[in-house]
C-alpha cells in the first residue's frame, strides 16, 4: 500500500493507483471531462490538474501515479483559474444551444459551465463548422459539439477492439472521424455514445422523445443472449425512449448493438405474444396457450421417437439461452430423448 496526503487528509491506496483514484477514495471532488475509470487515462482535458509538492507545475491527477509520502493539493486559486479558463476555452468553440441539444441534462460540459458559473466566454473567435455526415441508422454525430476528450476513440479501441474512429487533422482543426472522413462503418455498438460527455454523439432512435423530464427509468435484463447485460429502459408512456446501462452493473455499462438499439420489437405490432399453432394442414397459425403448445411439442417428440428412434430428433439451442438453460436443453436431448443430436447457434 502507498500512503499519501491529499488536501491534508491521509489516504492509502494500492500500488499503481493514480492520484485521482486516491482522491476519489477520500470523496474529494476533482472535475474531469476526458476521464472514465474503465478506460486508460488520457490527460487531455486538463481539468483534473492538481498541485503536488516538489513538482514545478500542476499535473493531471488521472495520469499521475500516487507515490509514497506524496503531498497533493486539489483546490487552490491557481488551479481554479486554470480549470475555469479551460472550460471557457471549450465554451468558446461550442454551440451555445443547450435549449435544443439532445445532450442537455446529461452533459458534462453543461455541468462544468454551471459549476464555474460561466454564462459565456471571455474568448470569442472562430468556431468549428464541420460538415455533418449522417447516413448510418444508429449514431447521430454533431462534430461541432465534440470536446476531443477521446473517450469514443478509446472505448472503440480498448473495449470493443474495433478501432473504427481516430483523430484527423491538427490543432484547432482536429477532429474525430472514421477513416478518410467517410460515414461510420462499424458494428454500431454505440459504446461511443455511452461515453460521450456532450451532445456530440447520440442515438438516432432517441430523437423525438423527451431528454430527461417525463422519462421513467426501469432496470431490467437484456433478453438477447446469455450474457444478460443489465439495461436501464428510459420509457415515455408505453414507448422506450432510449436504453442505457449503469456502470455499476456486471457488464460495467457496456452493451452491444442489440441491447442498446434493438428494442423496437418491444412495442412492435408484429411481436409474438402467445405461442401459435397450425391446427390444420394448410390452415393459418392460431393463438394457443403455453400448456397446449408444450403438450403438442412433447407429444410429437415422443411420437417421432417411438416411430423412428431417438436419432430422428435433433435440437438446436438459441444463444438467447443462459448457460443453465443450455445445460438443461442438452440434458433433455441426451437423457430425456436419448440422442446426441444437439447443438447451439453460437457454435456454427
Amino acid at each position: 500500500m502507498i500512503s499519501l496526503t491529499i488536501d491534508n487528509q491521509p489516504v492509502e491506496v494500492e500500488a499503481g493507483a493514480t492520484v485521482l483514484e486516491a482522491a476519489r477514495k477520500l470523496r474529494i471532488d476533482i472535475p474531469t471531462l476526458c476521464h472514465d475509470s474503465r478506460l486508460k487515462p488520457h490527460g487531455a482535458c486538463r481539468l483534473c490538474i492538481v498541485e503536488i509538492a516538489g513538482m514545478p507545475k500542476p499535473v493531471t491527477s488521472c495520469t499521475t501515479p500516487a507515490t509514497e509520502k506524496m503531498v497533493v493539493t486539489t483546490q487552490s486559486a491557481h488551479l481554479n483559474r486554470l480549470r475555469k479558463t479551460t472550460v471557457e476555452l471549450l465554451l468558446s468553440d461550442h454551440p451555445n444551444d443547450c435549449m435544443i441539444c439532445i445532450g442537455s441534462g446529461d452533459c458534462k460540459l453543461q455541468e462544468l459551465a454551471y459549476r464555474f458559473n460561466l454564462r459565456g466566454s471571455r474568448f470569442r473567435g472562430k468556431m468549428r463548422a464541420h460538415d455533418r455526415i449522417d447516413e448510418n441508422p444508429f449514431v447521430q454525430r454533431d462534430q461541432n459539439k465534440c470536446v476531443l476528450c477521446g473517450l469514443c476513440v478509446r472505448v472503440c479501441e480498448e473495449i470493443q477492439g474495433v478501432g473504427a474512429i481516430g483523430y484527423a487533422n491538427r490543432g484547432f482543426e482536429s477532429k474525430i472521424t472514421p477513416p478518410f472522413e467517410k460515414e461510420l462503418s462499424c458494428e454500431f455498438c454505440g459504446q461511443c455514445i455511452a461515453v460521450c460527455p456532450t451532445g456530440a454523439l447520440s442515438g438516432k432512435l432517441w430523437v423525438g422523445y423527451p431528454r430527461q423530464q417525463g422519462l421513467e427509468k426501469t432496470e431490467t435484463t437484456c433478453s438477447y443472449c446469455g450474457c444478460g447485460c443489465n439495461l436501464t429502459l428510459h420509457t415515455y408512456g408505453k414507448s422506450i425512449a432510449k436504453v442505457t446501462s449503469r456502470q455499476d452493473n456486471h457488464n460495467r455499462g457496456w452493451l452491444c448493438v442489440k441491447g442498446r438499439f434493438g428494442y423496437e420489437f418491444v412495442t412492435s405490432n408484429e411481436r409474438l405474444t402467445t405461442p401459435l399453432i397450425r391446427r390444420q394442414k394448410g390452415g393459418s397459425l392460431e393463438p394457443a396457450s403455453w400448456e397446449e403448445a408444450l403438450d403438442l411439442v412433447a407429444s410429437r417428440l415422443l411420437d417421432i421417437k417411438s416411430k423412428h428412434g431417438p436419432d430422428a430428433v435433433g435440437g438446436l439451442a438459441s444463444a438467447r439461452c443462459t448457460n443453465e438453460e443450455g445445460y438443461l436443453f442438452q440434458k433433455m436431448f441426451r437423457a430425456g430423448i436419448g440422442t446426441n443430436n444437439v447443438d447451439h447457434c453460437a457454435r456454427y
Binding site: T86, S92, G171, F172, S174
Partner: protein, 593 residues
C-alpha cells in the same frame, strides 16, 4: 615537383542549394581538361564533398589546400572554376579578389568547435576519414575498458545537458533508465528538428553522421540497450541518405551488430522517418510515432526513462547531445567542464539568422554574451540599423531586448529573462521588426503545429493568435492586453506537453519588454515599426513627387491619381495598403505612417 592538392567543396544542403554540385562537377571537368591528374603537376589531387561549415550565407564555399596551406573562396560558381584551376592550382597564385575576407575569420575565430570542427573537413560518406581523425576510438575505449556504470559516471561528471531544449543532465537521465528492472531498453536519437530556421542537427548528420552513431553506441552500452532508433524527418533526404551509408559502413566494420569491437555488446540501429509534425520532436509524441500511433504526447510521469517505447525504459537524446559523447569520452569529463559556464558545460551549436550580417551555423562556448555573438560572430545588424531584440529557442522561445544584450547565453541565463535555449535557434530583430507581429508570426506556427490533444493548447493558442491578429489589424481593445497576458499564462501552466507550455513565450516576453508597441497598436492604432499594413497610411509628399507615374503604375487598385509631371495623390478610401507604391517610388516621395 609533387604537391598534395585537396579541393573541398561545401556540399551541405546550403552548399548544394547554392550550386555545390555544379561547382564540384566543374572542378572535375577542368582537372580532366588541363590534365591535373598528370604526374608532372600533381601527385595527388582529391575532390571532396564536405558537410556544412557554418557560413551558409557565403556558399558555395571552396577550400583549396596545397600541401599544408589552405585558402577559402566564397560565392564560388562554375564559371569561376576555370580561373581558380589555372591561376591557383597550376600557377600557384591564389585569386585574391575571390578569397574570403577578414570577417570570415572573425566569424570562425570566436567560436569553439567541438561538434562543428570536423564538419567541412571530412567526407561524411567515408568511414575511413572518420576513423582517420580518431573516430570510434571512444566507443572502443568504453567497450574495452569501462563498465556501463563508469560510462554513466563520466557523462554525469562532464555536466553535459540535453541539447534538444530542456537541458536535462544527460548522465542523470541515463542513470534513471539504467536503474529500471527491464528485459529490454531502447535508445532513441531525436533528429526530428522542427524549429523553423534551425538546421544544426541536419548539418551534424550531413557532415559527420558517424559521431552520432558513436554517441549512440556509447549511450546504448551505458543503459543496456540492444536496439536503437534514429527518428529523423523525411524532409532531410541528404541527412537520411548519409545516415544510411554510415550505418551500413559501421555495421560492415563491426561497430554495429553482434559483438561490437570484439566485446559481448550487441546493438542494432534503425532509421525511422518522421512525417513532419513539429510535435513529434516532443519525446512522448516521438515514441507514439515510432509505435505507429498518431504523434500525440502522453502525460509525464511516467517518464520515458522508466516507461518509454513499447512500455520499456527508453533514453531519447538529441543529435547534438549524442555528438558530444565521443569527445567527452576521448578527452575526459574534466576537459569538457573546462568549457562553458558554471551550470552549462561545453558548447552550443546555434543557427544564427535574422537581420544580421553573417547568418549561419555557429558553435560557441556556453555563457558567451549575446553581444559577442551578435556583433563579433554575427558581424552586427544588416545595414547598421538599430538592434531591437533577439529571439532565441525556436518558435516557443522569448524575445530578449537591448537591455539584456550582455546576458550570458546558457540554460539559466536565457531562462532568467523569459526565453530558453531550445534547440539553439537565434533570430536577430532590428528596428524594422514589429514585436506584436513577431509574436503573431510564432503563434501562427505553434498553433498550426498543436496536436489538438489538450484543450489549453488546441483552443488557447488559437485564441491567442486571434487576439494578436486583432491587435495588428487595429481591432485591438484595451482589455485585450490583460486578456492576452492571462490566457498566455494559463496556456503555459495548463498544457500537456512542452509545445503548449512554451508556445506562449513569444507573447509573454514581448508583452513584458515591448508593451509600448502593443499599446501603440491598441490606443493610437499605429504600428511603430511600420509593419502592420492595416495600421499604415500611405501618402505622397508634394515636395518630393516629380510626377513620374511609377507609383500610379504599380497600384493594383487604381488608388493613385495624377497627371504626368504633376504631383500625385493617394485616395485613402481605395488604398489597400499593399505598399507597392512605396517600393516603386525612387524619390522617397511615398511615405508610410
Amino acid at each position: 615537383m609533387s604537391r598534395k592538392i585537396t579541393v573541398n567543396v561545401c556540399m551541405g544542403t546550403g552548399g548544394i542549394a547554392a550550386g555545390g554540385s555544379t561547382v564540384m562537377e566543374a572542378f572535375r571537368q577542368e582537372f580532366a581538361e588541363v590534365g591535373v591528374d598528370n604526374a608532372r603537376v600533381v601527385e595527388k589531387c582529391r575532390l571532396h564533398k564536405v558537410g556544412c561549415r557554418g557560413f551558409c550565407a557565403r556558399d558555395v564555399l571552396v577550400d583549396i589546400a596545397i600541401d599544408d596551406q589552405s585558402w577559402t573562396y566564397q560565392y564560388v560558381d562554375e564559371k569561376m572554376v576555370k580561373r581558380l584551376v589555372a591561376e591557383h592550382i597550376l600557377d600557384n597564385k591564389p585569386v585574391e579578389q575571390w578569397l574570403v575576407g577578414d570577417d570570415y575569420h572573425t566569424f570562425h575565430d570566436n567560436q569553439e568547435k567541438i561538434i562543428l570542427g570536423v564538419l567541412g573537413h571530412i567526407d561524411p560518406e567515408s568511414i575511413d576519414e572518420y576513423i582517420g581523425i580518431g573516430g570510434y576510438k571512444a566507443a572502443e575505449k568504453v567497450l574495452a575498458t569501462m563498465t556501463p556504470q563508469d560510462t554513466i559516471e563520466e557523462i554525469k561528471r562532464s555536466g553535459l545537458r540535453g541539447r534538444g531544449g530542456a537541458g536535462f543532465p544527460t548522465g542523470l537521465k541515463w542513470s534513471f533508465c539504467a536503474a529500471n528492472q527491464a528485459d529490454r531498453r531502447y535508445i532513441i536519437c531525436n533528429a526530428d528538428e522542427g524549429d523553423p530556421g534551425a538546421f544544426m542537427d541536419r548539418s551534424v548528420i550531413e557532415g559527420n553522421p558517424h559521431a552520432v552513431i558513436e554517441g549512440m553506441i556509447i549511450g546504448a552500452y551505458a543503459i543496456g540497450a540492444d536496439t536503437g532508433y534514429i527518428y529523423i524527418r523525411a524532409e532531410y533526404p541528404l541527412a537520411v541518405q548519409r545516415l544510411k551509408i554510415a550505418l551500413a559502413a559501421a555495421k560492415e566494420r563491426g561497430f554495429l551488430g553482434k559483438g561490437i569491437c570484439g566485446s559481448s555488446f550487441d546493438l542494432d540501429l534503425k532509421i525511422k522517418l518522421g512525417a513532419g509534425a513539429f510535435v513529434c520532436g516532443e519525446e512522448t509524441a516521438l515514441i507514439a510515432s515510432i509505435e505507429g500511433e498518431r504523434g500525440m504526447p502522453r502525460a509525464k510521469p511516467p517518464f520515458p526513462a522508466n516507461k518509454g517505447l513499447w512500455g520499456k525504459p527508453t533514453i531519447i537524446n538529441n543529435v547534438e547531445t549524442l555528438a558530444n559523447i565521443p569527445p567527452i569520452i576521448n578527452r575526459g569529463a574534466e576537459w569538457f567542464t573546462s568549457i562553458g559556464s558554471e551550470k552549462s558545460k561545453g558548447t552550443k551549436v546555434i543557427a544564427l539568422t535574422g537581420k544580421i550580417r553573417n547568418t549561419g551555423l555557429i558553435e560557441i562556448p556556453m555563457g558567451m554574451p549575446l553581444k559577442k555573438i551578435i556583433y563579433d560572430i554575427g558581424g552586427g545588424i544588416e545595414g547598421d540599423r538599430l538592434f531591437k531584440a533577439v529571439q532565441t529557442g525556436g518558435p516557443s522561445g522569448g524575445c530578449i531586448p537591448q537591455q539584456h544584450i550582455d546576458l550570458p547565453v546558457d540554460y539559466e541565463g536565457l531562462k532568467s529573462v523569459g526565453s530558453m535555449m531550445g534547440s539553439g535557434g537565434m533570430v536577430v530583430l532590428d528596428e524594422t521588426d514589429c514585436m506584436v507581429n513577431i509574436a503573431k508570426f510564432f503563434l501562427t506556427f505553434t498553433q498550426e503545429e498543436s496536436c489538438g490533444k489538450c484543450v489549453p493548447c488546441r483552443i488557447g493558442t488559437k485564441r491567442l493568435l486571434e487576439i494578436l491578429t486583432r491587435i495588428t489589424e487595429g481591432e485591438g481593445k484595451p482589455s485585450d492586453l490583460d486578456l492576452l497576458q492571462e490566457l498566455a499564462e494559463d496556456v503555459r501552466d495548463a498544457s500537456l506537453c512542452g509545445l503548449g507550455m512554451s508556445a506562449p513565450n513569444p507573447v509573454l516576453s514581448t508583452l513584458k519588454y515591448f508593451r509600448h508597441e502593443y499599446e501603440a497598436h491598441i490606443f493610437q492604432k499605429k504600428c511603430p515599426a511600420k509593419v502592420c499594413s492595416k495600421l499604415l497610411t500611405f501618402y505622397i509628399r508634394p515636395d518630393h513627387c516629380v510626377g513620374c507615374g511609377a507609383c500610379k503604375k504599380a497600384c493594383a487598385v487604381k488608388a493613385i491619381s495624377g497627371e504626368l509631371k504633376q504631383v500625385h495623390q493617394v485616395d485613402q478610401a481605395l488604398c489597400i495598403k499593399c505598399g507597392s507604391c512605396f517600393d516603386a517610388c525612387k524619390f522617397n516621395a511615398v511615405i508610410k505612417e
